[in-house]
């Protein structure tokens, strides 16, 4: 019964997201698979955003607040029906998959099922318990069960060890499950990781299929689902897999932005979702914005720059109030010092050791599987594609993300920065794995026009 209720709770989150995705302008050009994946991501982010806004306004989550999360969705449904009647029949037609693609899909389904079973039989992990599950329980308890639990958690210094300032999307999802099953059960939350991974695989395959064909897209999806670190972290309640999937969605959204004015507002939404899942999202939102603007200026499409302001507003709305709320409390994260000229110059001597650690991490087959071999091969085989703006865009974001992941520990506040990096650097690089596989897909194809980038290619070349 608990598993049924958990499934129902997940389905409702997906339905929330499905309504929201249906409102996006470029939805009509997406395949069903991609829309399904994005729906899950949107629904989860919506629940996180809703939770933090309720806490800011009302002080804590209550039973009524959880129920009321459906109200904006119901209101949005009216616009969805309006759009559906207007946009009917505009979707891209995708050819039927061949036998090989179907076989690959079967293997992929077996892999994902296996990962789900493994995850359900694993524990939440150390950070899963002490960073995320605690927040989930605080949200679930609200003030209904323990008076003042929420305020105590977010507004006292006692809980700093659990990073009380981390975003609430993942804890809100877990608390949502608790609400539905009527009690705290960390085992059930182990389904969240595989669900995000499935969403990511769906987004990747859905996006790549029109470009690379169903077989190659499915193989790339299987590659993503079988990367050792991905499988390892899927079986925890960490936020790294959800963030990696959100980053993939944002990169795809920005790629569409580059090719299609109609997709501009989608991109804004995906950028705003990033910091709702992990704080690193602020960095990546800035990088994605910068890379998109540089390419847009290079193409002489200066009028698109106004969307920069929309993105900034969206990101500010998604996390601004929450950060202000936290700033007024004691929930301040202390793992990193505030960037300054002094702190940066003091940390420069750490670079050689951080480089060694980053290199040994990203070149390890026990961490990233065959990707350390496959990605350079893909760059070698598809070097001609590197002249195309969309490929340059994805590669630039990956490069910036790699530098960030390797050297952010220059600002580490730990007494032993190497220990900090040692425990964290692989998870930071994991955020880039789905996007790296996306890059492989884009490199190993002759014709990018199916994703709507022909226009850019002409303008950029």
């Amino acid at each position: 019964m608990r598993y049924c209720l958990t499934g129902l709770a997940l389905l409702i989150v997906w339905a929330y997201g499905r309504v929201l995705v249906a409102l996006l302008p470029s939805t009509v050009r997406m395949g069903r698979l991609e829309r399904a994946g994005l729906s899950w991501l949107s629904g989860a982010a919506y629940l996180g955003f809703w939770t933090q806004m309720v806490i800011i306004v009302a002080g804590s989550m209550t039973r009524w607040a959880w129920i009321a999360s459906a109200v904006p969705i119901v209101v949005a449904l009216r616009f969805v029906f309006h759009r559906r009647s207007r946009d009917r029949g505009e979707r891209d037609q995708v050819s039927r998959p061949g036998v090989a693609a179907i076989l690959a899909a079967v293997v992929l389904i077996v892999v994902l099922t296996s990962l789900t079973i493994t995850s359900l039989n694993s524990g939440p992990g150390w950070d899963g318990i002490y960073n995320w599950a605690i927040k989930a329980e605080v949200l679930y308890l609200g003030d209904d069960l323990v008076r003042g639990a929420t305020a105590n958690y977010f507004q006292t210094a006692h809980w700093q060890f659990s990073h009380a300032g981390y975003p609430l999307t993942l804890p809100a999802l877990e608390a949502w499950l608790y609400v539905w099953v009527g009690g705290v059960d960390e085992r059930l939350t182990m389904v969240v990781g595989p669900t995000f991974l499935m969403a990511g695989v769906a987004i990747l395959i859905g996006f790549l299929t029109p470009i690379t064909g169903a077989l190659r897209a499915t193989l790339l999806g299987t590659l993503l689902a079988s990367v050792p670190l991905v499988t390892d972290l899927t079986a925890t309640s960490y936020a790294d897999i959800p963030f990696a999937i959100a980053l993939l969605a944002a990169i795809i959204g920005c790629a569409r932005w580059l090719s299609d004015d109609g997709a501009a507002y989608d991109c804004v939404i995906w950028l705003a979702i990033l910091p709702l899942i992990k704080l690193e999202g602020l960095f990546y939102a800035a990088v994605l914005c910068a890379a998109t603007i540089i390419l847009a200026v290079n193409q002489g499409r200066v009028r698109r720059l106004r969307l920069l302001s929309w993105s900034a507003i969206a990101v500010a709305v998604s996390v601004g109030p929450w950060r202000l709320y936290l700033r007024s409390s004691a929930a301040i994260d202390g793992d990193f010092v505030t960037p300054s000229l002094q702190s940066l110059s003091a940390g420069l001597e750490r670079i050689p050791r951080l480089w060694d650690l980053a290199y040994s991490t990203i070149s390890s087959s026990s961490v990233f599987g065959i990707l350390p071999i496959l990605l350079p091969l893909a760059v070698f085989a598809g070097w001609r594609q590197l002249q195309k703006p969309v490929v340059i865009f994805v590669a630039a974001v990956l490069a910036a993300g790699s530098l960030f992941s390797a050297f952010i520990f220059i600002l580490s506040n730990w007494p032993d920065f190497h220990r900090h990096a040692y425990h964290t650097v692989d998870r930071l690089f994991l955020h880039l794995v789905p996007s790296a596989i996306l890059l492989m897909g884009l490199l190993l194809v002759d014709d990018l026009s199916r994703m709507g980038v022909a226009e850019i290619e002409e303008a950029g070349s």
């Binding site: 079973i117 039989n121 524990g123 318990i129 329980e137 605080v138 059960d185 190993l444």
Partner: protein, 268 residues
């Protein structure tokens, strides 16, 4: 009209030139149609991707269904942690509070055990989370440790109510537990080790931390570490965990031998 002589392939001079020209060798008349070349590339890439995916898939972990077969399996995995939490679950009254000390040098085995224990007896651990306080108090006891999280000597405290905890527990009584003890001399001076029938051990510390009784939980390899501390008392017993009761824990005297605990050695 003068006609050019017919071209032949038997011109010795030209043939000699070609035979010594790498450029000529490379321009042998092997013409690969563009379509074929593209097709070869496309299928080659797909084949490589398929091989790569297959290689990775074969290295996936096997689903661990064993863990969920029964609570007994979980308890086995939980090991001493599970037994300790089981003890709390059975002995402590509702809303009891437990203070847990854990050196954060968790290896994978310890982490798995702790998680399994946590899953098995969530009520005990959750008493801390449902209460108003859940904090580290590393600064009070382990001032030498600069950071509470991820550093050696971490002390985790679970409190269930405002009154503080009823029992203090040190998880990990191997090297890490010994390290913790060595940094808290007041505890190390009055430590009792209770061995269980299955080979694991519960180490009783008769001293108090912040006014609470202390229970250490871990494997038996702590003895060596403890023996280095002055005033350590070691006891061995075949007393099962669920045979203990709270009154035993609450003893302030370092002499628990009045029950089934048998004193084996005294040192220091």
């Amino acid at each position: 009209m003068k006609r050019d002589p017919p071209r032949t392939d038997h011109d010795p001079a030209a043939a000699g030139k070609r035979s010594h020209s790498l450029r000529t060798l490379l321009s042998l008349p092997i013409r690969v149609p563009e379509q074929t070349r593209r097709s070869f590339f496309r299928h080659g890439v797909t084949a490589i991707l398929a091989l790569a995916a297959a290689w990775q898939v074969t290295r996936l972990p096997v689903p661990q269904t064993l863990v969920r077969e029964s609570e007994w399996s979980v308890a086995e995995i939980a090991g001493p942690y599970g037994r300790a939490l089981q003890f709390f679950d059975q002995v402590l009254p509702a809303r009891s509070t437990v203070t847990v000390f854990k050196d954060s040098r968790f290896d994978r085995t310890e982490r798995t055990r702790f998680q399994a224990a946590y899953l098995l007896y969530p009520r005990v651990v959750r008493t801390g989370i449902e209460g108003d306080r859940f904090e580290y108090f590393v600064a009070n006891s382990l001032a030498a440790v600069p950071r509470p999280v991820h550093g050696a000597g971490t002390i985790v405290t679970y409190h269930g109510n405002e009154g503080g905890s009823d029992v203090s527990v040190v998880f990990g009584t191997g090297t890490s537990g010994g390290l913790t003890l060595s940094r808290v001399p007041a505890i190390a001076a009055r430590t009792v080790i209770v061995n269980l029938s299955d080979g694991s051990s519960i180490i009783r510390v008769s001293g108090q931390i912040e006014g609470n009784p202390v229970l250490l939980v871990g494997a038996s390899d702590v003895y060596e570490a403890l023996e280095r501390a002055p005033g350590v008392l070691e006891f061995r017993t075949r007393l099962p965990v669920d045979g203990m009761n709270l009154s035993l824990l609450r003893e302030s005297s370092p002499n628990p031998s009045r029950r089934t605990v048998r004193r084996v050695r005294k040192s220091g």
